[in-house]
């Protein structure tokens, strides 16, 4: 099966065309055009990417298997956890969001839930203390703001 490289090659050709077209639409810089304008280098890149992607379509390597089924779901869960971690870092505060994110990741990677969330909480508290007191970098406290020593 050699679908991966072909699909990726087609996607990259689409990208190359879109990117190259985008380059031709760039406005002329203030002060008139030059030998190398803002569009020259991108156009060069679009051509090279187009040609090398064409090679990938014509001479594809054998595929690596994709993890469908359960492992695939685990991966999606992991990415979701990371996105939620980023989203909740400020509202929940560093310690709580780290406990949740690191804990969930450890748990999904095979640890028992109790040990997983304990690892998350411990690492969150240690890194928070390290950053706020030893390194003087403020991390958000969020919901735990009442603990703040002024």
């Amino acid at each position: 099966m050699r679908y991966n490289d072909r699909t990726f090659g087609i996607l990259m050709i689409v990208l190359a065309v879109a990117y190259g077209w985008g380059a031709t639409q760039l406005p002329e810089p203030f002060g008139g055009s030059e030998a190398v304008g803002p569009e020259t280098f991108p156009l060069l890149l679009a051509v090279v990417l187009g040609l090398s992607s064409l090679y990938m379509i014509l001479r594809p390597d054998p595929d690596n298997a994709w993890p469908w089924s359960r492992t695939g779901i685990e991966l999606v869960v992991a990415v979701l956890v990371l996105v939620l971690y980023a989203a909740l870092l400020q509202p929940l505060g560093f310690i709580l969001s780290t406990t949740l994110a690191v804990g969930t990741l450890c748990w999904r990677m095979g640890s028992t839930p109790v040990r997983a969330y304990l690892t998350g909480a411990a690492s969150g508290v240690v890194v928070f203390l390290l950053f706020n007191f030893a390194l003087d970098l403020a991390l958000p406290l969020g919901l735990l703001a009442f603990l703040e020593v002024s």
């Binding site: 030998a35 190398v36 390597d61 990415v79 780290t98 990677m109």
Partner: protein, 508 residues
Amino acid sequence: METLGYLIDGFGVALAPHNLMFALMGAFLGTLIGALPGLGPANGVAILIPLAFSLGLAPETALIMLTAVYAGAMYGGRISSILLNIPGDEPAMMTCLDGYPMAQQGKAAEALAISAVASFIGSLVATIGLILLAPLLARFALTFGPAEYFALFLLAFATLGGITGKNPMKTVVAACIGLMIATVGIDNTGVQRYTFGTLELYEGVDFIIAIVGLFAISELLFFIEARAGGGKAKMMVNKLSLKWADIRNILPSSLRGGVLGFIAGVLPGAGASLGSFIGYTLEKKVVGKQGYFGQGDPRGVAGPEAGNNGASSGALVPMLTLGVPGSGTTAVLLALLISLNITPGPLMFTQNADIVWGVIAALLIGNFLLLVLNIPMVGIFVKLLSVPPMYLLPVVTMIAFVGIYSISNTTFDLYFMVAFGVAGYLFRKLEIPLVPIILGLLLGPEMEKNLRHAMDISDGDWTILWDSGLAIGLWLFAGLGLILPYVVGPILRRRMHRAAGSGGPEAD
């Protein structure tokens, strides 16, 4: 003699108490990173960059610390090759051949100590080579015009996959993707390119976010896919009994390996894995019948180990003198230089002499520290091997989050990092190499600037790009770098595999 004076000044910088402290910390962290499962040198240095950055370290201190991390990670990588027969990275493959048999014979401590000594000698030889060669190359590089630089960048991309690389076209695709990402933002002429009106993209894509995402986050996803959450069994190491005669016995092998490794590291396209492979085969030829290679010959540990450490110091030569890195980890170090506002290249030797020579001196001191650190503390590092990745990787991911967050205190960067992580996972699945993407991100602006200068000089005549003898030579080598993997790559790869696969003494 000029060099000696600079070097003494360099020692002055590197021996300043707080620099020495950070070097020690870096060496320790580096060995830790090398020893821990799932954290390669490039990955480890990448995660530490934002931290060094947000700590507000002085440029020379940050660079000294991360160079020590780099050297330390090379030391740490061999621990799993010897004890578990699992090479931490590709160059360590050859160390497994004799290191693992030694460990099986109950001589794990000796194997580790020998590899530490050989690494030290290899790095020492290569650092001396670096001191002699780098100023010469830097002076030569001053004659480069913009057209030559443009060709040099092409050469760097073309040889990045190495002549043992699998599919050079994928390197080209990866380099284009990296260069394209680098064009996002406001360019030199003041035109916005590909920003889609998003304020966060005006300044372009921060390459540190891209590097940490591509390496650290994709590593986490790979571990989840492989379901490799459980740890390895606990390892026991016997008590060390190393005699002076043993060290004297491996001395010639280490010296030869170090020299070969250095050459392989400096040359574009050769790299550390070829360095250690040549080191090993040469050792077998030189020692001949008296050796028992593949069955735990200490010289079979010393040769490749000195070779791969020599290569990693050698790889710093093109990075420091030309601003063109030859490996993933040196690319990450280049990222650090650029973000510290130091323009890498020949001028660095005159404009930032204290930093360059400080780093070179730090490399010497760091290697000494590593030797002292490694022999007595190897027990601790061995214990680290059994830390289960299911706890380690989430915590490392968290540290990556903290590092990126602390640069700008915005969540936008974190989403971006996760997106790069997912992309990195897909690229690795498709066997698109990540290092050219990063190199493209780093070199893109320089490359375009040099193209623009060259064209301004020639008044729009494209032939200037291959007008001088030097430029033609660089184009030629770049072409060879893309063609040779198709010609000699399969042969070399087969040989390396045969040597590594059977491990028997009769394998050539």
